[in-house]
């Protein structure tokens, strides 16, 4: 078990208790599924430590608080930068029935007052974030920095405890609605008829996207088009500062980033700490605004949203006509709750992950600067190669410690992980199908099935397609492929191209105004790519597994999203 070094067995490396050890973890859980929606590209150790420990904890909390009948919680392990997930499935019928009794009670407040409960969760988190923001990292004493390490852990733990409650109640309603629609009307959650009833909602993410677009219009109104057109995002700030109008515009913009509830406290890349947040580097939102100016994009959200909202009401009305009158109030209530899944999916990303990750980056870079100064590590962002226990060990007397033997090795490993993708499942079953059937599906876990692992695509040989995924948003288009694996490559995307990527996250929404379609390697009908696709009216296919591996930038593709089919026209 583990590595034998000088006569002693090494159990864990970066994540004590949470590194995957096949000899123990396979017999215990049998199948471990890669969370490719979140952990591609591979995670740094510090981020992995946080997510795997506290997200896993959050899952256990929700399964406990809501008493999910068939699942007691998840397990998560870290391997080569990937997050591997397994599920504590309850199989004993009697135990399932007992848990169901408490489940009914626990669910009631979420059905009756979803918005109120989520609102109070948000308030609690924003209060904790404010406390974290208060520390002056450059001038803090060693002890204050030391405590900040623990304050970050505490906040992040609490964030994940809140994170899943709204998710499970609304996603369960989505699954129930899907079951009933399938049973009664032969409708699946990939069918446009179903999806149209559950899109066209407003939430904070769209509001912020709209605000950025508004700033692009303000720039045009203030005659700043030239500055935006002639300068790359990295140079924009300096150039704007050179003119009075430019300074005025920029001041207004920074004010928004600083004072909005979320504002600039959002990471460019959601799932790791390696890229800046907007307040740190306004180049990111400036780049988005520049894009709107350059390409004269329309108010994508405004135009499309109003229509989607109207369509939603019409789709719901049409659906209710197929339902016997005594059952209509029930279906209306269920559709309403399932609709929350869409908004919650986006909003929780902002208020939970994006802000707290920004605060993690800020706090740990502050510690990193301190440790780099004292020579404990080579450069500030090497701190992402350490875990909080290792940081704890050195923070009080940094000049007496040298951790480069750890950080250099881990960085080399981390870079190496980027060269080879992680397998989708590690299992002692006969293969993916058996693993899914035995160790995933019986959990009835909405998040596992609809986001993290996603449903397996159906191969329809009669269509003659080259690749299959599941439908996130219906539509048929043709266009050139643009394969994007990292956020930096996103700026290469041209209007009319078909985005092929591992998955998407809120940082990527600005590109939805330009692309003809989106093809994602992983995800389910409730993952980000699918939800945004539906809200922006962009045909989307998810969970192809092999899109970024098989498709090349420039290849012409035809997408038939409702069938989950991708045709590579020039091979």
């Amino acid at each position: 078990m583990g590595e034998n070094i000088g006569g002693r067995t090494a159990l864990w490396d970066a994540l004590p208790g949470y590194d995957l050890i096949e000899e123990v973890d396979l017999p215990e859980m049998h199948s471990w599924f890669l969370d490719a929606t979140h952990s591609v590209p591979p995670w740094t150790p510090l981020f992995g430590w946080y997510w795997i420990r506290f997200c896993c904890h959050g899952m256990k909390v929700v399964c406990d608080e809501l008493s999910i009948p068939t699942c007691k919680g998840w397990e998560m392990r870290y391997r080569d930068g990937g997050s591997y997930n397994a599920f504590h499935i309850v199989r004993d019928k009697k135990e399932i029935a007992e848990r169901a009794v408490k489940f009914r009670q626990a669910l009631r407040p979420w059905i009756e007052n979803f918005d109120g409960l989520w609102e109070s969760g948000k308030r609690e988190l924003l209060g904790m974030y404010d406390k974290l923001k208060a520390i002056d990292l450059e001038n803090a004493s060693h002890v204050e920095l030391y405590r900040h390490n623990y304050d970050l852990m505490n906040t992040y733990r609490r964030m994940f405890e809140i994170h899943f409650l709204g998710m499970y109640s609304s996603y369960s309603a989505w699954l129930l609605l899907e079951d009933l629609c399938k049973e009664r009307f032969g409708m699946k959650d990939q069918d446009p008829e179903f999806q149209d009833m559950l899109r066209g909602f407003n939430n904070k993410v769209y509001e912020m996207d709209k605000s950025l677009w508004d700033f692009s219009q303000l720039a045009l109104d203030m005659g700043l088009k030239g500055i935006f057109v002639q300068n790359k995002p990295d140079d924009l700030r300096a150039k704007l500062e050179m003119s009075e109008k430019g300074r005025e515009w920029f001041r207004k913009f920074m004010h928004y980033l600083e004072t909005d509830e979320v504002g600039g406290w959002r990471m460019r890349r959601m799932n790791d700490l390696t890229e800046p947040y907007w307040l740190e580097d306004p180049c990111t939102p400036l780049g988005v605004i520049r894009n709107h100016v350059l390409k004269e994009t329309e108010d994508v959200f405004g135009n499309v949203h109003a229509e989607l909202s109207k369509n939603r009401e019409a789709a719901v009305a049409r659906f209710l006509e197929r339902v016997p009158p005594p059952e209509r109030p029930f279906f209306e209530g269920l559709i309403n709750l399932a609709g929350k899944a869409s908004s919650y999916s986006e909003e929780h990303d902002l208020y939970c992950e994006l802000i707290s990750h920004a605060l993690l980056r800020r706090g740990y870079l502050g510690m990193g600067r301190r440790l780099a100064k004292s020579g404990t590590i080579d450069q500030p962002d090497d701190i992402f190669m350490l875990n909080p226990d290792e940081i704890d060990r050195v923070l009080m007397v940094p000049d007496r410690h040298d951790l480069r033997f750890i950080t250099r090795r881990r960085r080399a490993e981390w870079l190496e992980w980027h060269t080879r993708p992680n397998p989708p499942v590690i299992t002692d079953r006969s293969g993916m199908e058996e693993a899914v059937a035995m160790d995933l599906l019986p959990s009835m876990d909405a998040v596992a099935m609809k986001i993290v692992v996603g449903e397996l695509p159906e191969h329809k040989p009669e269509l003659g397609a080259d690749m299959f995924g599941i439908c996130g948003c219906a539509g048929e288009v043709e266009g050139p492929a643009r394969v994007v694996v990292n956020y930096e490559d996103l700026k290469e995307v041209q209007p009319g191209e078909i985005l092929v990527c591992p998955g998407t996250n809120p940082a990527w929404t600005p590109v939805y105004g330009m692309v003809a379609a989106v093809v994602a390697d992983r995800g389910g009908t409730l993952s980000h790519a699918a939800i945004i696709g539906r809200e922006y009216g962009v045909p989307t296919i998810v969970n192809t597994f092999e899109g970024t591996a098989k498709i090349k930038t420039g290849q012409r593709l035809r997408i038939h999203a409702a069938e989950g089919a991708i045709f590579i026209l020039d091979k």
Binding site: I96, F330, E332
Partner: protein, 344 residues
């Protein structure tokens, strides 16, 4: 109760006499004790029915015929018709022995005296010990001794209608079975009749009472034919929350002898067959009885055209309603229920 007494006035009976006089008769006695106005009349015990079968020789004949037949399980309808006809003939062709006839006529005479009528018009209703709605016969508007005796025999014979025979054979019960009591209440001169449920029989909502009514006899309502008046009354407030005036094109009325379906005069089709005060009186009694008996009731009543309100309302039957009482389930509860069931 002495075994000499074979016939009882309704007021002498209680629920516990079910096995002696049959359910319907015991029920009428129970209603009297509940303070519900019931048409005056008497009940013929099952024992007297057995005496008739024994003394007339019908019992012996029927038994040997049954032995001849052997096991009838799985036979077709044609056979049931034949067996039924044979057994009913055996009963109906027998004269009533004096020992059986005389007590019956004595009670009928006394009933006429009490009512101050020459030949009181009565109905002759089957009363088995088990509830078998519609399985046995009922005769309406029976007048005079001869008619009465004949109809009583026919009611006794109705233990062997094809339907009753088939029922017993298919259930594996003995062919010779279902001994019947007989209820003989005065005919109500029904201006209107109807049924009421103290829960909504469709939804199980127990906060309301549902009434259905038509002109004439209850047979024009119970049989479920034609369009009838419907009333929904909230128990708590006694408010009539729903009122449906049906197109009452046909109803059942008394004739010289018997009763039959007739057309309802045009001008009476669209007016309510019950006054609001009558509806409420019926509802109030329903609430009281449901409370006293501790379960939802399925009730029959008639409104006598000859008497003033409230004396004009008579009760003919009350029995436990075969409806599941459900509290109206909120949308939240329904969603929770189904969400939980997904996991099980």
């Amino acid at each position: 109760m002495s075994s000499e007494k074979q016939i009882f006035w309704f007021e002498e009976l209680e629920e516990k006499h079910n096995d002696i006089v049959g359910k319907k008769c015991a029920n009428l006695g129970q209603m009297v004790h509940l303070g519900m106005p019931v048409p005056p009349g008497f009940a013929i015990s099952i024992e007297l029915y057995r005496r008739f079968l024994d003394l007339s020789g019908a019992a012996k004949e029927m038994r040997s015929y049954a032995d001849e037949l052997g096991d009838l399980k799985g036979v077709g309808i044609g056979t049931f018709d034949e067996v039924s006809r044979r057994l009913q003939d055996i009963i109906e062709e027998k004269d009533m022995p004096a020992e059986v006839r005389d007590p019956i006529l004595r009670y009928y005479e006394e009933l006429c005296e009490r009512l101050d009528m020459q030949d009181a018009s009565v109905s002759v209703r089957s009363a088995g010990t088990e509830s078998r709605p519609g399985m046995f016969e009922t005769y309406l508007n029976v007048i005079g001794a001869t008619d009465l005796l004949e109809k009583i025999k026919k009611v006794w014979a109705s233990a062997y209608t094809p339907r009753a025979v088939a029922f017993r054979v298919n259930k594996g019960f003995p062919l010779i079975g279902d001994e019947l009591g007989v209820a003989v209440p005065k005919m109500v001169n029904s201006r209107s009749s109807g049924v009421s449920f103290t829960v909504d029989p469709v939804t199980g909502d127990d906060t309301r009472i549902i009434l259905e009514a038509n002109w004439g006899l209850g047979e024009g309502v119970v049989s479920g034919s034609g369009s009838v008046d419907g009333f929904v009354v909230e128990k708590e407030t006694l408010a009539i929350v729903n009122r449906h005036i049906g197109q009452k094109t046909r109803c059942v009325v008394n004739r010289e002898k018997g009763a039959e379906w007739v057309d309802v005069p045009e001008k009476m089709q669209h007016i309510p067959c019950l006054a609001d005060e009558e509806v409420l009186e019926i509802v109030k009694t329903g609430i009281t009885v449901e409370k006293r008996l501790g379960c939802p009731q399925d009730m029959e009543w008639a409104v006598d055209g000859d008497l003033p309100f409230p004396k004009n309302i008579f009760w003919l039957q009350t029995r436990p309603a075969k409806v599941q009482v459900k509290k109206p389930v909120s949308t939240t509860d329904q969603i929770i229920d189904l969400l939980a069931k997904r996991y099980q």
